[in-house]
Amino acid sequence: MAERPFPVAAGDLGNFEYCEQKAVFDRRFGNRRTAHAAQRSEDGVAAHRRFENEPQAGDRRCFVATCVYGADAPETELLRRYRDNSMMRGAWGRAMVRVYYAASPWLVRAIRPFPAVMRIARRILDRIVARIAAGRPSETEGRQ
């Protein structure tokens, strides 16, 4: 009978390369950290979160639209394409996208528990999507 493949996570192997003894101790005693290391870790997590929320052309994330329509809905894809093809071309458009990315994760958390607010958001987004679709018929085509 064939042996099952040994599972390895990239982060674990990276930590192991850094210090093998620490990796073994982490597994045996748990990930003990000094106060300084814990603070550095928290700072790193916050920086990661900022980095993760930064938009870029071709970025597939669209928080509010994803929450309202779903990640792979045609409306979400249309809004992504509008962001990439129109808004990200100009400095002000990029700034607006940046503001949107700063506010939208919070906005999504705030509106998700309220179906009535979600319906209003959907109605607003429907109108935006309709205007974009009317102005740019090619935007409705899916991403290749």
Binding site: P5, F6, P7, V8, A9, A10, G11, D12, L13, G14, N15, F16, E17, Y18, C19, E20, Q21, K22, A23, V24, F25, D26, F29, N31, R32, R33, T34, H36, A37, R40, D43, G44, A47, H48, F51, E52, E54, Q56, A57, G58, D59, R60, R61, A91, R94, A95, M96, R98, V99, Y100, Y101, A102, A103, W106, L107, A110, P113, F114, A116, V117
Partner: protein, 182 residues
């Protein structure tokens, strides 16, 4: 229900205003700094995935990776990047190994992957960034690293110790460090 709605109507605009102000500030800063640090080919690339777990079979191992960003280059190949906050702009072997595992997991799923990746280092003090290109491990070198990991974690090989200045910040230093070693 009414109370929740009322509190939402009162606090939501206030929170939103604060977020938007912060967003405006960050937007202006971003306008002047964003992308100047990004490698040329990544500027032309598109973000293919972000903080997404990829897995795949590599020889006797099943690899799991959650790269910070995977870019799709203009030529269609995927390029794995990792984001790090550090005091110095440099990449370590541990970064290369981590990115190599991500690339191997993607390659195992049949994607064309670039033989290099990037470590995006953010200075912990001033927030400036640099994008450092690194060559990935060859398959045989990656397999060696994986076999050693398996041996050490399984107890058949003895672990090596790092003995560097980071030992002073390690939570296991009392258990690990022999008297006077660091």
């Amino acid at each position: 229900m009414m109370l929740r709605l009322l509190s939402f109507l009162v606090f939501a605009p206030m929170h939103l205003a604060i977020w938007l102000l912060g967003g405006c500030f960050r937007a202006l800063r971003w306008l002047f700094t964003q992308r100047s640090w990004l490698a040329d080919e990544l500027r032309r690339a598109t973000v293919w995935s972000s903080e997404t777990t990829h897995d795949g079979r590599f020889r006797d191992f099943h690899l799991y990776a959650k790269p910070d960003r995977v870019y799709q280059l203009v030529d269609g190949r995927l390029c794995v990047t990792e984001f790090k906050t550090r005091e110095q702009f440099r990449a370590y072997r541990s970064d290369i190994v981590q990115i190599s595992v991500g690339a191997a997991a993607l390659a195992a799923r049949g994607f064309a992957v670039a033989p290099y990746g990037y470590v995006i280092v953010e200075n912990a003090e001033d927030g400036t960034r640099q994008c450092i290109r690194v060559d990935l491990l060859h398959d045989d070198a990656l397999e060696l690293a994986l076999n050693r990991y398996k041996g050490v974690m399984g107890g058949s090989l003895s672990p090596r110790r790092a003995y560097n200045r980071k030992c002073a910040q390690c939570g296991h230093r009392d258990t690990c460090t022999p008297a006077g070693a660091c």
